[in-house]
């Protein structure tokens, strides 16, 4: 039963996200451009997605749950490898694979 409700709530979340996402895509078709080009809105639109992604990045780290220094160091090192590989190779999938591989290697070696 719990699993049923869990699956049910996942579907609710997905549809809320889908509807809100589509609203942002379809809004300009019904609302005047003048309102949407409000300077405050444009300024927030420039910086907020980046800030939200950083918060999501921090929340997704295992260290946030364990609060162990070893986890923090391992995850930060692996993320640095991801950053450098993405800058050099510009390949999403390869950088992610390298990140997971690096984290496993760090845990294995230290």
């Amino acid at each position: 039963m719990t699993e049923f409700f869990q699956q049910h709530s996942i579907l609710v979340i997905i549809f809320i996200v889908a509807i809100l996402n589509q609203v942002t895509r379809l809004l300009p078709l019904i609302i005047s451009n003048r309102f949407l080009q409000n300077n405050y809105l444009l300024y927030m639109n420039k910086f907020l997605p980046f800030a939200i992604l950083v918060i999501l990045l921090i929340s997704s780290l295992n260290w946030v749950k364990t609060f162990k220094l070893a986890d923090l160091v391992a995850e930060v090192l692996a993320l640095l490898i991801v950053v450098f590989s993405y800058i050099k190779l510009n390949n999403f999938l390869l950088s992610i694979c390298l990140g997971i591989f690096s984290l496993n290697m760090i845990y294995l070696l230290f």
Binding site: Q7, I10, L11, I13, I14, I16, V17, A18, L20, N21, Q22, V23, T24, R25, L26, L27, P28, L29, N33, L36, Q37, N39, Y40, L41, L42, Y43, M44, N45, K46, F47, L48, P49, F50, A51, I52, L53, V54, I55, L56, L57, I58, S59, S60, L61, N62, L79, V82, V83, Y86, N91, F92, L93, L94, S95, I96, G99, I100, L103, N104, Y107
Partner: protein
């Protein structure tokens, strides 16, 4: 005339296909590795069709974030699409159904591709380009979702793919705005939220950031005046 040809449009969208297959497969693998079942993973790509938002959605589901926080974060992450839709509005098909379908499939990548074409071509290719991008993304997710089930059993720490993806998306954001100020504000917001309201970290963090950037813009305007 040649751009009406599907073969030419596939050739034109090939750079997007390469990126979408890499990111879409990664999304499928990650979603299944995070405990979301294969069919729900595919459903996410079919109804949401937005890279950064879908990766965030995995976080929302696995972290048990509140619905209100999810709603606010979704709108904020998707806000840039409003700007894209404004830019593409003159080139959307005249037929109302086609117009809605085309606007509903706008992404960072197909917007960039269509907007770099000549003005007379934009309206002619936009629906097909957006449809092809949708097709690439959904098929990539299907591949990733079916691979992910086996991979998550074989590879330890596969869920680390999520922070890896977020750090790449942050890098892409940095390329656009060329400042790391949002990083510091976000870290500060996260710490304050973690101390004061640990159950609503994302929502509180986002609110702190909104307040900060609104205040910053207000002060900037006042300084200029």
């Amino acid at each position: 005339m040649q751009y009406f040809n599907w073969a030419n449009l596939i050739k034109l969208t090939m750079p997007i296909a390469m990126g979408y297959y890499a990111a879409g497969i990664a999304f499928g693998i990650l979603s299944v590795a995070s405990g979301i079942d294969i069919y729900t993973t595919i459903l996410i790509s079919m109804v949401v069709f937005a890279g950064a938002l879908q990766y965030s959605l995995i976080g929302f589901i696995t972290e048990g974030v509140s619905l209100f926080s999810i709603g606010v974060s979704t709108v904020l992450i998707s806000m840039r699409q409003v700007i894209y839709a404004i830019g593409l509005k003159p080139y959307l098909p005249k037929n109302i159904a086609k117009k809605i379908i085309t606007a509903a499939m706008v992404t960072d990548e197909n917007f960039s591709l269509v907007i770099t074409q000549t003005v007379d071509l934009r309206e002619k290719i936009i629906l097909k380009v957006n449809f092809l991008c949708y097709f690439y993304w959904v098929t990539a997710t299907v591949i990733g979702a079916f691979l992910g089930d086996d991979l998550s059993k074989l590879i330890p720490h596969l869920d680390f793919a999520l922070p890896c993806l977020f750090v790449i998306l942050c890098l892409e954001q940095y390329k656009n705005i060329k400042t790391i100020e949002p990083v510091f504000v976000a870290i500060l917001g996260f710490i304050i939220a973690k101390i004061l309201v640990p159950d609503y970290i994302l929502f509180t963090g986002v609110v702190i950031n909104i307040v900060y950037f609104l205040a910053r813009y207000y002060l900037k305007q006042r300084k200029q005046a």
